[in-house]
């Protein structure tokens, strides 16, 4: 086993060897991505086993171009975040070096009461390769073996030393950041990810976890740099049920379902609401998306119109369905006159983008335009005089009237005509997603017109979005940006042109899109580094 890792190390040496034009750096770090909470948890579970508990808090993320994934290339680790990483690292290391875990370790020391550099090195190399998603350098192993030896000798306990060696790996920058390294391509004019970084990007996209042994082996052998080798791995990963884990993470990010973490509802007006309903609403949306796109291999546009969903007891209360079924979750099909239409009328979307005590057409409109059509509502221009919509008369009674007052003003209209119509069609649903036809005694007008298209209600909106080519294009753009950790607004449509064509040709099957992207060279490409912004192409002296 040890030989295998020495081989791996020598491969790394080979890859880092100079093979570049004098003016360009021999390698660049194309992106440095802070692990998300799910990526961290999944990685630890896959590396050490599901029995290892991860207890701790993760730093919040932000959205860039509609995706948290894109913020992972912008954010760093603050002292608060590191404090948490260091505690989690030790807690995991304690569990892995504990008595009951020892049979799973790749070796046992000659004497459990003494240091054993050989065995320490073997264990740290084994886990280190999975944690760092590449073989460790000699220095990285040596410094940790020395740490473990010192502490093992003093405490007369091999495993006490091992614990700290492992802990040092688990909080290293190479674990908490996914460092994606690019090398000059054969044409010397562009850059592309090195094999281990390819494996990493692919694995986190499809499974939302660290690359497994087979993928790392393929990277080590250079297979991921050939189309056939890459295709083989993409097919393998896509055939696994773990693809669902990966796509759930993508959908969770794309649909902004984390918004629920901070949504509160007015407990007097909506006593039904609680965190259990929020969690159920999130799950309903994910089940619907996974069910239609992966399990049924359906047309992704149908997510806008389908009457099929999944409900549990919590949601039955919101949707006012008799909960006569047994089991936690059941598939359910809304009736034709339910007014429901796919994701847009699910509790998740309706409740997340509302106020605590009332619905908000503006919030809903802005969110849906951004999430589903990749059309963020522009910020108001500098120094807008909001006093032009100051309403002192108090004569405007409904939300629609107040919004229309904005839309009637040229300055405000530029934004409000963009997002409000979509939101107004959903006024037939209250702030927690319940259906209603009247507000304060007046019948709610749920009609809208966007650039000549006239429609009404959630079903009209669903149909409008289903037929709008911007929706599938937006999914493709977000998936590409998600996989690469980029701002979706900066992604050029030409970057995923071929896979998008395959996607449309297939009848909008998500799997075709995933396969096309994950096996395309563009997905692994990197910009040529500018000489000014890159450190001199010095080699790591000890490599």
């Amino acid at each position: 086993m040890r030989n295998k890792f020495l081989l791996a190390i020598s491969t790394a040496l080979f890859l880092a060897a100079p093979a570049y034009a004098a003016s360009l750096p021999s390698q660049e770090v194309a992106s440095l991505r802070r692990l998300t909470q799910e990526e961290y948890r999944n990685s630890v579970s896959d590396i050490f086993g599901p029995e290892i508990e991860v207890r701790g808090v993760f730093e919040p993320t932000i959205r860039v171009g509609g995706l948290q994934a894109a913020s992972t290339t912008v954010l760093s680790v603050t002292p608060v975040g590191f404090e948490s990483f260091t505690k989690m690292a030790d807690s995991i290391a304690v569990q892995v070096s504990a008595e009951k875990y020892r049979s799973k370790l790749p070796c046992a020391p000659k004497d459990a009461k003494a240091a054993d550099d050989g065995c320490t090195s073997q264990i740290l190399s084994h886990y280190g390769m999975m944690l760092f998603r590449r073989p460790l350098t000699n220095d990285e192993i040596k410094s940790r073996v020395a740490l473990a030896r010192g502490l093992a000798e003093k405490q007369k306990d091999f495993y006490a030393g091992l614990r700290y060696g492992l802990a040092s790996l688990l909080q290293a920058s190479d674990f908490v950041f996914r460092k994606e390294v690019a090398l000059p391509a054969a044409d010397k004019k562009s850059y592309a990810l090195d094999p281990y970084s390819r494996a990493t990007r692919l694995s986190y996209l499809l499974w939302n976890t660290t690359p497994d042994h087979e993928l790392l082996d393929a990277a080590q052998k250079g297979d991921l740099n050939t189309q056939a080798g890459l295709d083989k791995q993409v097919d393998r990963l896509m055939a696994s049920p773990r693809l669902e884990v990966g796509m759930r993470a993508f959908f969770n990010d794309m649909m902004e379902l984390d918004t629920f973490d901070t949504v509160s509802k007015d407990s007097i007006l909506y006593p039904k609401w609680g965190s259990a309903i929020a969690n159920s609403a999130k799950e309903e949306t994910l089940r619907t998306m996974i069910g239609l796109t992966l399990k049924e291999n359906g047309d992704i546009r149908d997510l806008m119109t389908t009457k099929k969903t999944y409900v549990n007891r919590n949601l039955a209360a919101i949707y006012q369905l008799p909960f006569s079924f047994t089991g936690e979750w059941v598939p359910y099909e809304f009736s034709k006159d339910s007014g429901r239409s796919g994701l847009v009328t699910q509790t998740s979307m309706l409740a997340m983008f509302s106020h605590p005590g009332r619905s908000s057409p503006t919030k809903r409109g802005v969110a849906l335009m951004d999430i589903l059509l990749c059309e963020p509502t522009p910020a108001p221009p500098a120094n807008v005089d909001f006093s032009v919509v100051n309403d002192t008369s108090g004569a405007l009674k409904t939300v629609r009237e107040r919004l229309m007052a904005h839309a009637g003003n040229p300055t405000c209209a530029s934004c409000h005509t963009h997002s409000d119509p979509i939101g107004l069609t959903l006024e037939g649903f209250d702030t927690i997603g319940g259906r209603r036809t009247k507000e304060n005694g007046a019948v709610i007008d749920v009609s809208a017109a966007i650039k000549g298209d006239k429609f009404a209600g959630g079903e009209g909106l669903g149909k409008y979005l289903h037929d709008n080519p911007k929706f599938p294009a937006c999914v493709a753009r977000k998936l590409f940006a998600y996989g690469r950790g980029e701002n979706s607004e900066d992604v050029s449509a030409s970057a995923f042109k071929a896979s998008y064509k395959a996607f449309t040709d297939s009848g909008y099957h998500l799997k075709t899109l995933i396969k096309g992207m994950a096996s395309s060279p563009e997905f692994y490409g990197a910009p040529v580094p500018s000489v000014e912004t890159t450190s001199p192409a010095t080699k790591v002296a000890t490599q």
């Binding site: 932000i62 920058s173 908490v176 007015d266 007097i268 009332r358 002192t392």
Partner: protein
């Protein structure tokens, strides 16, 4: 492996501790330890921020008179008990230069950095608390601590610059755990001894920090900054552990309470009335026991989503949708929320003032900066933000004054604060907000 000096020192001590169990005082009470143990050390001056959303109602809060004899107003009334310990500014300007007026952001960011922000939700420099922490936090366990009363860790206006916000502890329990959970050395316990485990963890961090040189290679300029921040965070964890190895000194006669229960923390006003005093108390205790000298607190986000249950609009929506009452000349419901905010603020200050310390209270040995996002929220106005300081900064800041509008930029307050905190700087802020003029009349 190259054994560095610190590792050897720690290793030796650790060995002695773990194997022989010899007294470790000789090993750890270095010159600094003795200094800490010595009596009569001056109390440190602490700093804090208090963020509240959506400002106040102009017609109801601005005193007519400046100076010390300012007339009490409807909306400042809740602050009456603290009047002699606060300062009020009413007419500060927030020139945005060529940047947009980012709604519910520009005013807050300008107050905290003296710089008109170029991006929504991001600060164009470190926030003022971090600038001050760089100067006053040496030797404390936490360089700074942020807390948010409404349950959202993102409601922190303490920033390392850009999008790198220092997350807030967002419930009383999580704040308690961070401050007084594992790692806390209770100064009132007579049997204090350094935890050998902390020393081992320090040696682990040394190994992590050794990767720095290699980790910084081949990074873009932006990623270098991010990686550098990671290693700065590693360094802070090392310093935190170093502080945990020092015998803590009692700064004030306080008892650390039991952990608070799990409780709902959100924007509902009744919940905030519970979380604000509890979290303020914990922050006060943290400063009194020198766990931290910088405590940042937020009661809501900018564009405050505070609501009274049963009110379908809530605070923020009310500011935009509630009509201005033609007789009163202002928005009555908004005005009520404004006053609720001042009541929460005084609750916070009372906790700071309730801990006796030397010849006064913790508040007297602190300086708090309270700021907000808007002056007239209905139209997202930023000129005339209601700005406060509280506490005498150990006698370096005069208190009890109202400074009426004199056309000054809001950054003058930030500069004055830093002068009072002993930060050495001559100018603060950028563009039209760059200033060299602190309010010298308020500095003692």
């Amino acid at each position: 492996m190259k054994l560095d000096r610190r590792f050897l020192l720690r290793g030796t001590c650790q060995g002695a501790l773990a194997v022989i169990g010899m007294p470790f005082l000789d090993c750890f009470l270095d010159s600094k330890g003795k200094a800490l143990a010595a009596t009569g050390r001056a109390l440190p001056t602490r700093f804090g921020t208090y963020f509240y959303g959506l400002g106040l109602t102009k017609q109801l809060w601005i005193p007519k008179n400046g100076g010390k004899d300012w007339d009490m107003t409807t909306q400042l009334k809740p602050l009456e008990p603290m009047r002699s310990k606060i300062n009020v500014w009413s007419g500060l300007r927030v020139p945005l230069d060529d940047n947009p007026n980012y709604q519910h952001w520009s005013g807050a960011a300008a107050s905290a950095t003296g710089i008109s922000p170029t991006k929504q939700g991001e600060f164009d420099s470190k926030s003022i608390d971090q600038q001050i922490a760089d100067s006053i936090s040496h030797g404390t366990r936490f360089k700074s601590v942020a807390a948010a009363a409404a349950g959202d860790p993102k409601q922190s206006y303490s920033s390392l610059g850009g999008a790198n916000t220092l997350p807030a502890e967002a419930t009383p329990l999580s704040l308690y755990t961070r401050l007084f959970g594992p790692g806390f050395q209770d100064p009132s316990k007579g049997d204090w001894k350094p935890d050998p485990q902390v020393m081992i963890q320090q040696s682990v961090l040394s190994v992590v920090a050794e990767d720095r040189k290699r980790a910084m290679q081949n990074l873009s300029a932006a990623d270098k900054v991010r990686m550098d921040q990671y290693f700065t965070s590693v360094r802070e964890a090392e310093l935190q552990m170093a502080a945990e190895l020092q015998k803590p000194e009692i700064q004030a006669k306080v008892t650390i309470p039991e952990a608070p229960p799990e409780m709902v923390a959100n924007n509902a006003l009744p919940n905030l009335r519970k979380t604000v005093p509890l979290m303020a108390k914990l922050g006060a205790l943290a400063m009194a026991t020198d766990q931290t000298r910088v405590f940042n607190f937020s009661v809501s986000e900018p564009g405050s989503q505070i609501f009274v249950p049963g009110d379908t609009l809530g605070y923020h929506q009310s500011t935009h949708e509630e009509p201005i009452d033609p007789v009163l000349g202002y928005q009555p419901r908004v005005s009520t929320y404004n006053i609720d905010n001042m009541e929460l603020f005084v609750t916070f200050l009372k906790e700071m003032d309730s801990i006796p310390e030397g010849d006064g209270t913790l508040l007297d040995h602190s300086l708090f900066f309270a700021f907000t996002d808007q002056s007239f929220a209905k139209i997202h106005a930023v000129d005339g933000l209601p700005i406060f300081t509280a506490g005498g900064a150990s006698g370096r800041m005069k208190t009890g004054y109202h400074t009426p509008g004199d056309g000054s930029a809001v950054s003058r307050v930030g500069l004055t604060i830093q002068k009072a905190m002993g930060v050495s700087l001559e100018t603060w802020g950028k563009g039209s907000m760059e200033t060299k003029s602190p309010y010298t009349e308020l500095l003692a």
